[in-house]
């Protein structure tokens, strides 16, 4: 039994992967609570997919993935902003059109004959390839996200509670919106390399949605979400090691399973009382 628990961590690669998913879990779980309450889950998903062409171009040209991802993110945000102003499209449709276009473009670039293999890593991540630089970046991201959320906590509470009244309280929503958007961009960029373009949203939404079911205040919700995300990362890596499944996908599945189990448990408890 002990071997089952300890075996995965005898290998340097899985130890690094565990450190990476732990850090990403803390940052993503904490920020995800505000993403869920500000109803930005769809925006997060869209931005994550929209940055694919940037990643692919970076992989093709050899520039750092981080720079390519940042450029892709800026392009996606710009596209959504422009399309959202077209009178013929409502906001959700505009986002869907832009993101589908970008995802398709990314796929087209990645599947062309000249492209070296490795699209899978961009779409599904390669957490087992985590290097020292990745870990340092993830640790810095955790520090930035936690510090920003701590400082902004009172402002975010006021803005999320009642956007219309927030300006009269001295907190115009704009500052909070920009801060959350920047943090979201940061977490997406850093997490997308470990968890991949299609799975990164799992760490933002799954743990926060689970934590929302079992907590009654924001601060405990953030703590629980970060804990669930870390536990999900650990569980996902065990599944991946013993089941020989893809690491990023296993982690994403574990994060979503955490929400499903919590929802089922609270539902059953609700039926009993």
């Amino acid at each position: 039994m002990l071997d089952v628990l300890l075996d995965p961590w005898r290998d340097e690669l899985t130890r690094r992967a565990l450190a990476e998913v732990t850090l990403l879990g803390i940052a993503g779980g904490a920020l995800g609570c505000w993403i869920v309450h500000l109803r930005l889950a769809y925006a997060a998903e869209s931005l994550a997919h929209g940055l694919l062409p940037g990643l692919v171009v970076a992989a093709l040209t050899g520039i750092p993935l981080l720079a390519g991802g940042a450029a892709g993110l800026a392009l996606a945000a710009l596209g959504v902003a422009v399309a959202g102003r077209l009178p013929a499209l409502d906001q959700d449709t505009a986002v869907a059109v832009v993101v589908t276009t970008l995802l398709g473009l990314g796929g087209l670039l990645a599947l062309s004959a000249q492209t070296p293999p490795g699209l899978g890593d961009l779409l599904f991540g390669d957490v087992l390839a985590t290097g020292d630089g990745d870990l340092a970046l993830a640790a810095a991201t955790v520090a930035v996200v936690l510090a920003a959320l701590w400082l902004l906590h009172p402002s975010l509470l006021a803005v999320t509670f009642d956007r219309a009244i927030a300006p009269a309280l001295g907190r115009p929503p704009f500052t909070a919106d920009v801060a959350v958007a920047l943090l979201l961009a940061l977490v997406l960029l850093v997490a997308v390399q470990g968890l991949g373009n299609l799975l990164v949203v799992a760490v933002l939404v799954g743990p926060a949605a689970a934590a929302r079911l079992v907590t009654r205040r924001m601060a405990p919700m953030i703590a629980v979400a970060a804990g669930v995300a870390v536990a999900g990362g650990l569980a996902g890596l065990y599944v991946s090691y013993h089941g020989r499944t893809a690491a990023g996908a296993s982690v994403a599945a574990a994060l979503v399973a955490a929400w499903a189990l919590t929802a089922a448990a609270t539902h059953v408890r609700g039926l009993r009382t």
Partner: protein, 231 residues
């Protein structure tokens, strides 16, 4: 008595057409003013002008710091905040965005909840409170803001008689402390108990003491002929 709010020829608009215009009135410290008007008549526009959310299209407006007690169904009732958290939001306008509330501000919020009779509910979730209790939490938030002018947007809607009595007493106390209150309401009879009324129907119809102001002609211009007969 000192004048706290003064509006002269005030007009507010969202597009090319004025949502409200010709608003001229002055409120003194200690006065409660009922704001009467049909839905879409400009009550909310007047409040947005007073909070500064909407810039005047024309005219002038002088007022000190303004707090607003909004309709609580418009806030996020599923959002996990306690009554204390909401009252504490009143301290934000005095603190820079990077500074978290200090003990003195938490003490102020506790005091304010005590004043509105909700000391025991401080840790309850805002969305779990009754409608009347939620209104009083927002009044507590206005107290923490320590604003000389308080706007209340239809605060009596959906309250049972006991909660309404309690809120009415609280408003009288706030006025007695020298605040000016503007209270949007659908009930002219309730407004008769206050010092001033302001009637709007896309423009200001009338302003003054209730007995002299709430004539049949004014109510008809405010609400239209049919409804004025019913009232």
């Amino acid at each position: 008595m000192s004048v706290l709010v003064r509006a002269e020829g005030l007009a507010g608009a969202y597009g090319p057409v004025d949502a409200l215009n010709e608003v001229t009135f002055a409120l003194q410290a200690g006065e409660r003013c009922g704001v009467l008007g049909p839905n879409g008549g400009g009550k909310t526009t007047l409040f947005r002008l007073l909070t500064g959310e909407l810039a005047p299209r024309r005219g002038t407006l002088e007022r000190p710091r303004v707090a607003i007690v909004a309709q609580t169904e418009r806030s996020r009732l599923d959002f996990p905040v306690s009554a204390l958290d909401v009252a504490l939001m009143g301290a934000l306008s005095r603190t820079p965005w990077w500074r978290r509330p200090r003990r003195t501000e938490r003490a102020l919020a506790h005091e304010a909840l005590e004043r509105v009779g909700l000391a025991d509910e401080a840790q309850r979730t805002f969305g779990d409170l009754s409608g009347g209790q939620r209104q009083r939490v927002l009044v507590a938030r206005a107290l923490v803001q320590d604003a000389p002018v308080v706007l209340l947007d239809e605060p009596f809607t959906g309250l049972d008689a006991r909660s309404a009595d309690r809120l009415e007493r609280l408003l009288a106390e706030l006025a007695a402390e020298g605040r000016a209150l503007l209270i949007a309401t659908h009930d002219p009879d309730q407004a008769r108990g206050w010092e001033r009324v302001l009637c709007v129907n896309r423009r200001m119809v009338a302003f003054g003491a209730p007995d002299a102001t709430l004539t049949d002609a004014v109510l008809e211009q405010t609400y239209g002929r049919r409804l004025a007969g019913v009232l």
